[in-house]
């Protein structure tokens, strides 16, 4: 028989400090992503390989200097990979394993559950883009410093918009279906969604993928502010997806 000193479990309830909860939760989210081999393949290895391929090989027509254009598109792809596909798959399996219910039963406020995930995703996106940017510089990308604030802004906006879409997908369906759909959508967006190559079809510009790639191209290649159009498209997708996701996301 196991015995416990009297008073061991004497009630002393209370909520932890908000900054600490946010920090620990966001760190957990980021760490789990970075530790997951499939996530690394999707969010780092494939974008890195595509960046190098697009910069060095002229299979896909792209304005010169190729590396700048390629960097812009691959930054967009990296964000789609982690914030949308990665997030959706992770959420699908997190629900399967009951972690959302577990955390929802703790003293962690609901808004913090979302904020922690967003912060974790932003950390991952920042690391991805930093790694890709260094690679692009090595490949000869001329980084227009004036574009930096826009790059940061678009990184945040892109992560939020694609994160909301990822939650919309991963929060409602079964994990296996999420896994399949999230990868298929990623591939479709890459090929014909205005990421790997510009698709001269009107409605493609209304896709969040094309909008993010175009907006990043202004900042990454020319160091100028993105156009109002692509930013509006991103915001609209993000707002609609976010609003829908709050209704459809289930804990398990």
């Amino acid at each position: 028989m196991t015995t416990f000193a009297p008073g061991t479990f004497k009630p002393a309830p209370g909520r932890g400090s908000l900054p600490k909860m946010l920090f620990v939760h966001a760190r957990t989210e980021a760490l789990l992503t970075l530790r997951n081999g499939e996530q690394i393949l999707l969010t780092v290895i494939i974008p890195l390989a595509l960046l190098i391929a697009l910069s060095l090989m002229s299979v896909i027509p792209m304005p010169e200097p190729r590396v700048g254009s390629a960097a812009a598109r691959i930054f967009a792809l990296a964000i789609i990979s982690s914030a949308f596909t990665g997030q959706a798959i992770a959420l699908g399996f997190d629900r399967r394993y009951g972690v959302l219910k577990r955390l929802a039963a703790s003293a962690l406020p609901r808004w913090l559950l979302v904020t922690g995930r967003v912060c974790g995703a932003l950390v991952v996106a920042a690391l991805q883009v930093a790694l890709l940017a260094v690679t692009a510089l090595v490949l000869g990308w001329k980084f227009p410093l004036s574009g930096l604030p826009w790059i940061v802004l678009l990184l945040v906006l892109g992560t939020l918009t694609f994160g909301a879409l990822g939650v919309l997908l991963g929060g409602a369906l079964r994990a296996e279906i999420v896994l399949a759909l999230a990868n298929i959508i990623w591939f479709v967006l890459l090929m014909v969604g205005g990421v790997a190559l510009s698709v001269p079809v009107g409605f493609v510009h209304l896709l969040p993928s094309a909008a993010l790639a175009e907006a990043l191209e202004s900042a990454v290649v020319y160091g100028t502010a993105p156009g109002v159009g692509p930013v509006a498209v991103l915001v609209a997708w993000g707002v609609v997806a976010g609003a829908l996701a709050t209704r459809t996301t289930r804990l398990t």
């Binding site: 061991t8 479990f9 309830p13 909520r15 932890g16 620990v24 394993y97 009951g98 577990r102 703790s106």
Partner: protein, 320 residues
Amino acid sequence: MDRGDRLGLPFVSPNPQPAVEVSGLVKKYGSKTAVDGLDLVQHPGTVLALLGPNGAGKTTTVEICEGFRSADDGTVRVLGLPPGDEALRPRIGVMPQGGGGYPGIRAAEMLNLVAACAKNPLDPKWLIDVLGLGAAARTPYKRLSGGQQQRLSLACALIGRPELVFLDEPTAGMDPQARRLVWDLVGALKEDGVAVLLTTHLMDEAEALADNVVIIDEGKVVAQGSPAELTANRPDDQQLRFRARPGLDTSLLSAALPEGLKVREATKGAYVVEGLIDPQVVSTVTSWCAQQGVLAEELTVAKRSLEDVFLELTGRELRS
């Protein structure tokens, strides 16, 4: 000021607010009524067991108390608050049925994360060791065995030093040793003034742990009281059990016994004599067995178990 802020004092308020109070609770899933007008009251610092077969409505009831499901009708108050109230969650500990971690998170990391949500958490390292998870502390959640996941889930429920814990089938999938540990923990929680509401379909668990047992079936309370009250023997309501060769003709034994005693072969080779069991009855049974040329083994005179109570009330086996 509520009691939770007066730490260390036993809960002896003259007019104690119940830890859990449920009245007229109704929950329907489509056309199926899972909980059908359920009432229960749990006093602070006590252990209450919801006992019933699978599908009786135990988990639904608990999940409504935890704030995970909404009630269709009736009222529920947990520590005086409506379930799901943000102010309530730091004060309760929850062990859901199955699951409760990121697939890739290590056991110790998961507990640390939940500990970070509490103001005065127990020491996670200590709790990991107490629950026998020391060797699995670095194992990813998805590779933990079912029993290990259960123990981690229990740790997560206790880490924040709650006033009230909900344990939904806490020993499901555990080996006997771990099960014993959970029983000891529940005892220690109660000693320290923590109220525990647990569900189980194991009567020995309910009998061993609970101050009060609420037996539910098809969403309704069929009986409630302390285990002693529920199993209280009427003088003529005792059992003599023994094992012998299967297939003995029980009508012959019945004829040899005084009027009013019932004999049946409960399961293959396990015989039960019900009624007023006195020394004469025991003697009659053993000598009748001797006449049949069989040895009556494991002969015991037993009081009713909660299982018998359940069978009597519902006409069905608890474990079915």
